[in-house]
């Protein structure tokens, strides 16, 4: 089996007497987009910060491409966008990316800078000072900054929180493109619909522990098949899409007229609420 790009094993973190993470295991493979969900204070940002070396773990291990998180080799392999970040306001978008190219040792030059700015829809704002940009533009610039040097692992902490629907779509398409290129992404988000749309794996954290993990389809499994007949609406709990033709055939054979058939799924939101038990930070 290929080595995971990000491997989190029995990760613990305590801030004084408060436990932020209580033994989390998680893996992100190449070309995989993993969504990390959880209420405020669940430990999502702490996990991300440990993965990029900003916070020291109290126990367990985190490795990026087999190197300990925080080591120069691990840092060289990742791009990161913090939930709360700020760039020097006097800088232009172009200057900021050039600075990060030098820090990341990227030889992409002007071509890479232009490509990244185009990718996040800031092609026309290359010479605009950051302090003159809207919050949404700054967040898209933050995503571009994280992509400098084509990192193997992208850690994004609420990258779309300040974006309008168009901005969110740009980032979503960007993430899908990254996945196609084989990049690994760990995405922290509160936006369940967004995670459901782009992520191929979801991990739900609550109270510093991993409470549920799997594919969005696997988690949000089928709940029932609902059929409307002349005698009313009948629900077949636990039935799947594959069961629907048989159910309809049985009903018709029994002499019933079928007006409507609907396969009902439990949404990711239902799964999330069930997993976190209504907890909110």
């Amino acid at each position: 089996m290929a080595e995971p790009v990000l491997a989190v094993r029995d990760l613990h973190k305590r801030y004084g007497s408060q436990e932020a993470l209580g033994g989390v295991d998680l893996e992100v493979g190449a070309g995989q987009l993993v969504g990390l969900l959880g209420p405020n204070g669940a430990g999502k940002s702490t996990l991300t910060k440990i993965a990029c070396g900003l916070v020291r773990p109290s126990g367990g291990a985190v490795e990026v491409l087999g190197k300990p998180a925080g080591s120069p080799q691990a840092r060289a392999a990742l791009g990161y966008l913090a939930e709360l970040f700020r760039f020097p306001g006097w800088c232009t978008a172009e200057e900021l990316l050039r600075f990060h190219q030098r820090l990341a040792g990227s030889a992409g030059g002007g071509v890479e800078r232009r490509e990244l700015l185009e990718l996040v829809g800031l092609g026309e704002a290359a010479d605009k000072r950051i302090e003159a940009m809207s919050k949404g533009m700054q967040q898209r610039l933050g995503v571009a900054q994280a992509l400098v040097g084509s990192p193997r692992l992208l850690l994004l902490d609420e990258p779309t929180s300040a974006l309008d629907p168009v901005g969110r779509r740009i980032v979503r398409e960007l993430l899908e493109e990254l996945r196609r290129r084989g990049g690994a992404v760990l995405l922290n988000s509160h936006l369940l619909s967004e995670v459901e749309l782009v992520c191929d794996h979801v991990a739900i954290i609550a109270g510093g522990r991993l409470v549920k993990a799997g594919t969005p389809e696997g988690l949000a499994g089928p709940a029932a098949v609902e059929v409307e007949t002349e005698s009313g609406v009948r629900t077949f709990e636990g039935a799947t899409r594959e069961d629907a033709p048989r159910i309809v055939a049985d009903l018709v054979a029994a002499g019933e007229s079928v007006y409507r058939v609907e396969v009902r799924h439990s949404s990711l939101e239902d799964v999330y609420l069930d997993a976190v038990g209504g907890e909110t930070g």
């Binding site: 900003l54 913090a82 700020r86 006097w90």
Partner: protein, 289 residues
């Protein structure tokens, strides 16, 4: 160029670029020009008036040398103060302040690493502050030479002493930035700066009134805060060749001193500087961001 050096150069370059773009350097340049103009004016009138005041009197005190040393000693104090202000502001919020505002995280997750980033910020601040101090010092020197035909007994050693003193202040400020918020950092560093200078003055008073206790306080302060010892030694070097009553009176201060910098103080100042930067790097490496 190694990756670490290239990254360090990028961090220093960004700080310098910020200074230029935010017109910090322009403001410093204009205000310094104002200070030097005022100093030139004061120096001119001081030398002119003291020549008239002393004319025809028996020469107990070399009024010209006295005026030159006092006025230049004042310039030394102003230079140290301005250099300290620059050193503190260039290192303000480097760690905790920038971490709280979210400026630091995108940088330290890059391969540059924390220690290189911190040393680069220190090197940038120390180099700029020390260069500034050297420029102001030599400008003040040229002014006293032009207005009163007076120059210090030693030209280079006081300048280097002041430059090293502001580098130490930059290091102390850097250390404070790893532990304190921006406001607390500024307050603490300026209080330490003031405490150091006050202890130096106490030592001078102790010397003048022959008080061992006061003199000991000054000596301890010199070792605990070597920027003060370097400043005092620089003041001494200005007048170390001035003999007779003039030399004795000047050594009483406030803009003269009797303690020379021995090799021990210089070695200690460098060791102290490295120790403080090392401590700041250690504190930064342990800090969760």
């Amino acid at each position: 160029m190694s990756a670490q050096l290239r990254s360090a150069a990028a961090v220093v370059g960004l700080s310098i670029q910020e200074g230029i773009r935010r017109r910090v350097f322009l403001a410093v340049l204009l205000l310094t020009a104002g200070f030097l103009a005022l100093f030139g004016l004061g120096s001119h009138f001081a030398f002119r008036d003291v020549e008239g005041f002393a004319a025809g009197e028996p020469a107990i005190l070399d009024a010209h040398a006295f005026t030159g040393a006092v006025i230049f000693g004042l310039a030394m104090f102003a230079t140290l103060f301005l250099g300290a202000v620059l050193a503190v502001f260039l290192t303000l919020g480097v760690v905790r302040g920038d971490a709280e505002s979210g400026l630091l995280q995108p940088i330290v997750v890059r391969p540059i690493g924390r220690t290189t980033m911190l040393v680069a910020r220190f090197a940038g601040a120390a180099l700029l502050s020390a260069s500034y101090v050297l420029i102001v010092y030599f400008a003040a020197c040229a002014i006293t030479e032009a207005t009163g035909d007076w120059s210090p007994d030693h030209l280079l050693s006081p300048a280097l002493g002041l430059a090293l003193a502001v580098a130490i202040i930059a290091a102390l400020s850097l250390l404070a930035s790893t532990l304190l918020s921006v406001t607390a950092q500024g307050i603490v560093v300026f209080m330490v700066f003031g405490a150091g200078l006050t202890a130096g003055l106490l030592a001078q008073i102790g010397q003048a009134i022959n008080s061992d206790s006061l003199h000991t306080i000054g000596r301890v302060a010199t070792w605990a805060l070597p920027f003060e010892g370097l400043y005092t030694a620089s003041l001494h070097a200005l007048i170390s060749g001035t003999s007779g009553l003039t030399g004795v009176v000047l050594q009483l201060g406030p803009f003269g001193a009797s303690e020379a910098a021995g090799p021990g103080l210089i070695a200690w100042a460098f060791a102290y500087l490295l120790g403080v930067v090392g401590l700041a790097a250690f504190a930064f490496s342990r800090r969760d961001l």
